[in-house]
């Protein structure tokens, strides 16, 4: 009897292709992503893309130039020459992980065998990447200065371009709150969007279509609901982070409000987009689980973007999570002015409009036609 029931259950389980996909494909994708993120994959076969580090040569001597050329020959880094002000601005905005500044007197220090006046100015939000860069450069300096294996003899001074202060959030907290908030939001919104499919199954969608309203109004109303819930959910999450962990949400409240609105718009449009691509609740469940977890993994909600290899960082830009999390870093960590956060907000709004546009077409095809 047990065997009969077991056989039936297995038959039913394997007949649900979406369910099987979630069970087997999703963990495979996640293992692959995390394997790339945490290392140990593909390194033997291919050379990783070198890390871009800005270099500012204030010494401007043949010795400093020669030394920069030697450092640039290291396979793991690529030095990009820049002016100090511009370099620090790029690091501050999170565009580059660090700037290596050769101070005046570098050639003299080499000649006198004194401590070299070189400073690595970095973005503390990218702590792990920074540690890698620091190790590479320190090894490079030790090797090229001929100090043998006594690594500690070369002191590479490091300074964060953004000073930690009482008004500033710890980057780890920004990552935890921002990353988790967006991922959880995606799940909530997918569920709200699924309400459209419930309406279809219950027959109320048909009655809505019978009423003298435009079909698009139904989609936009659902998106509006999702957006209001998104705004509320993000607001509650940030208030909680403020109360529980002291996240300074009033530091730049206006930028935070606009960013929450942009994220809510992008996420809501993503919700209706998801719903428009499927025909049943069951399909939505499978599809949304896969896409949201995948997007959150590559977008930095699960592991910081800075820990990921370069190719994954390039893929990250397709996710809402990436732009939202980066926006939060701009506000809470980098403390950028509104105008500098605007491009990221713009990308979120563009994602929102793009997905809404696609959703309207798919909604007509997948939802209305068979209501």
């Amino acid at each position: 009897m047990i065997l009969t029931i077991l056989k039936k259950d297995l038959r039913l389980y394997f007949s649900d292709k979406k369910g099987v996909l979630v069970t087997f494909l999703l963990p495979i994708i996640m293992i692959t992503l995390f394997a790339f993120a945490f290392g140990g994959v593909g390194k033997k076969k291919s050379t990783p893309k070198p890390l871009g580090i800005l270099v500012v040569d204030k010494d401007s001597t043949s010795t400093s130039q020669e030394f920069i050329t030697k450092l640039n020959s290291l396979p793991t880094i690529r030095l990009i020459s820049s002016e100090e002000e511009k370099a620090l601005d790029l690091v501050r905005k999170g565009e580059n992980v660090a700037a290596l500044v050769f101070e005046k007197g570098f050639s003299e220090a080499i000649a006198t065998n004194a401590d070299v006046p070189v400073e690595l100015k970095y973005d503390a939000a990218r702590d792990i990447q920074m540690r890698i860069v620091h190790t590479i450069l320190k090894d490079g300096f030790t090797y090229h200065l001929g100090k043998g294996d006594v690594i500690n003899q070369v002191q590479l001074k490091t300074t964060s371009v953004i000073k930690q202060s009482s008004t500033k959030a710890h980057p780890g907290l920004v990552q935890a709150v921002g990353g988790t908030a967006i991922m959880m939001l995606l799940f909530s919104i997918a569920a709200i969007g699924g309400g459209l499919l419930d309406e279809k199954e219950a027959g109320t969608l048909k009655r809505l279509l019978i009423a003298p309203i435009k079909p698009l109004d139904i989609l936009l109303a659902k998106m509006g609901t999702a957006m209001i819930v998104s705004i509320l959910q993000l607001t509650v999450m940030f208030i909680f982070a403020w109360v529980a962990f002291g996240l300074p949400i009033f530091m730049d409240a206006s930028s935070l409000i606009v960013l929450i609105l942009c994220i809510s718009f992008a996420v809501s449009s993503f919700g209706v987009f998801l719903v428009s691509t499927v025909k049943t609740r069951q399909q939505l469940q499978g599809m949304s689980t896969i896409i949201i977890i995948l997007m959150s993994a590559i977008g930095g909600s699960m592991i910081p973007i800075s820990m990921m290899p370069a190719f994954m960082q390039n893929i990250a830009i397709i996710s809402v999570n990436y732009w939202g999390i980066e926006g939060f870093f701009d506000i809470f960590w980098r403390q950028l002015p509104f105008i500098d956060i605007l491009p990221k907000m713009g990308v979120l709004v563009a994602i929102g409009f793009g997905m809404t546009l696609v959703s309207t077409v798919l909604f007509k095809k997948n939802i209305i036609e068979i209501a």
Binding site: T204, K206, I210
Partner: protein, 306 residues
């Protein structure tokens, strides 16, 4: 009130509606009778402006649906086959929501809701959640939601599916009341008894085509079988039958003690009087009606509920 001309609709290779035409007069209850999958709901969906036809035209009160869908939607009320209500809202809040979609002013809408709930006999339950209602009560609210904007025409797509006879009768009474108030009603069903009770005119639809339409009397003329009454006697001799033939103007046929008389119910008393005069003792009387089921069977060779 409604003109449907050469209407067709296909879904991939299946022709769901195939070149149908009919006209519905103002104040009529028009029945669209056919088995499941005949094309009734597809026709009604096109008439409700939620499904575009491949070919043909539909006019509602002089308005062509294509291009004037919004105007037409204000003229029609639709009772879908499914119970299209929000289970977690009360009947009142459901009706408030559906009424708002038609732009009815708030005060007037509240008044209309109460009147409509009174009409369907559920005013006292208006604040109860729909999920607490019986199937029949839900069906009645389903009808109420289509009435709030005072449509000129009401489309009802199998509104009595799965309910008890008492609720069914209640719904019939509501339909008859609405019709008396001047509302034109289009009623689709596969229950011929419902059509026979309610409809002035009927279109019989099968495999996407209208195979016959007219009043019940007109439809009955379409088939050779006539209404007849079967009498069963205690004893019936050939002589008795001959005597009856001499006195009654109707065709008679004998089968042992049974006599089949091709006459109507109205003519029944004349037959009984004659039998009494001949001192023939009638044991049983059975009416063989020519109903829509028989007409459908005769025209298509299959049962209505196939």
């Amino acid at each position: 009130m409604i003109q449907v001309q050469n209407l067709s609709k296909s879904f991939q290779d299946i022709k769901a509606v195939n070149d149908i035409s009919f006209t519905i007069k103002k104040g009529e209850i028009f029945g669209l009778l056919g088995p499941n999958g005949a094309g009734k709901s597809t026709t009604l969906n096109m008439m409700s402006a939620i499904l575009k036809s491949d070919e043909g035209h539909i006019h509602i009160d002089g308005n062509l649906i294509n291009g004037h869908a919004k105007t037409c939607k204000h003229l029609i009320g639709v009772v879908p086959q499914e119970i299209s209500l929000y289970e977690d809202l009360s009947a009142y809040k459901n009706l408030l929501f559906w009424g708002n979609l038609y732009g009815i002013p708030s005060k007037e809408l509240k008044d209309r809701i109460n009147k409509t709930l009174a009409l369907i006999g559920l005013l006292d339950r208006k604040n109860d959640l729909i999920k607490t209602y019986s199937g029949g009560m839900k069906r009645r609210i389903n009808i109420a939601a289509a009435l709030l904007h005072h449509p000129k025409v009401l489309f009802m797509d199998e509104p009595t599916v799965g309910i008890d006879p008492q609720s069914r009768n209640h719904i019939f009474e509501v339909i008859e009341t609405l019709n008396k108030q001047g509302m034109t009603i289009v009623y689709t069903t596969h229950y011929m008894e419902e059509v026979e009770r309610l409809c002035n005119r009927i279109a019989i639809i099968d495999s996407g085509k209208i195979i016959a339409q007219g009043t019940q009397a007109e439809l009955k003329e379409l088939i050779p079988t006539k209404e007849s009454i079967q009498f069963e006697f205690n004893l019936l001799s050939e002589n008795d039958v001959n005597q009856l033939r001499g006195r009654l103007p109707y065709p008679l046929s004998q089968n042992k003690n049974k006599l089949l008389v091709e006459c109507t119910v109205q003519e029944l008393s004349k037959v009984i009087t004659t039998c009494n005069e001949l001192q023939l003792s009638v044991e049983d009387i059975q009416l063989n009606k020519v109903n829509l089921e028989a007409i459908f069977l005769s025209l298509t060779g299959k049962q209505l509920r196939d």
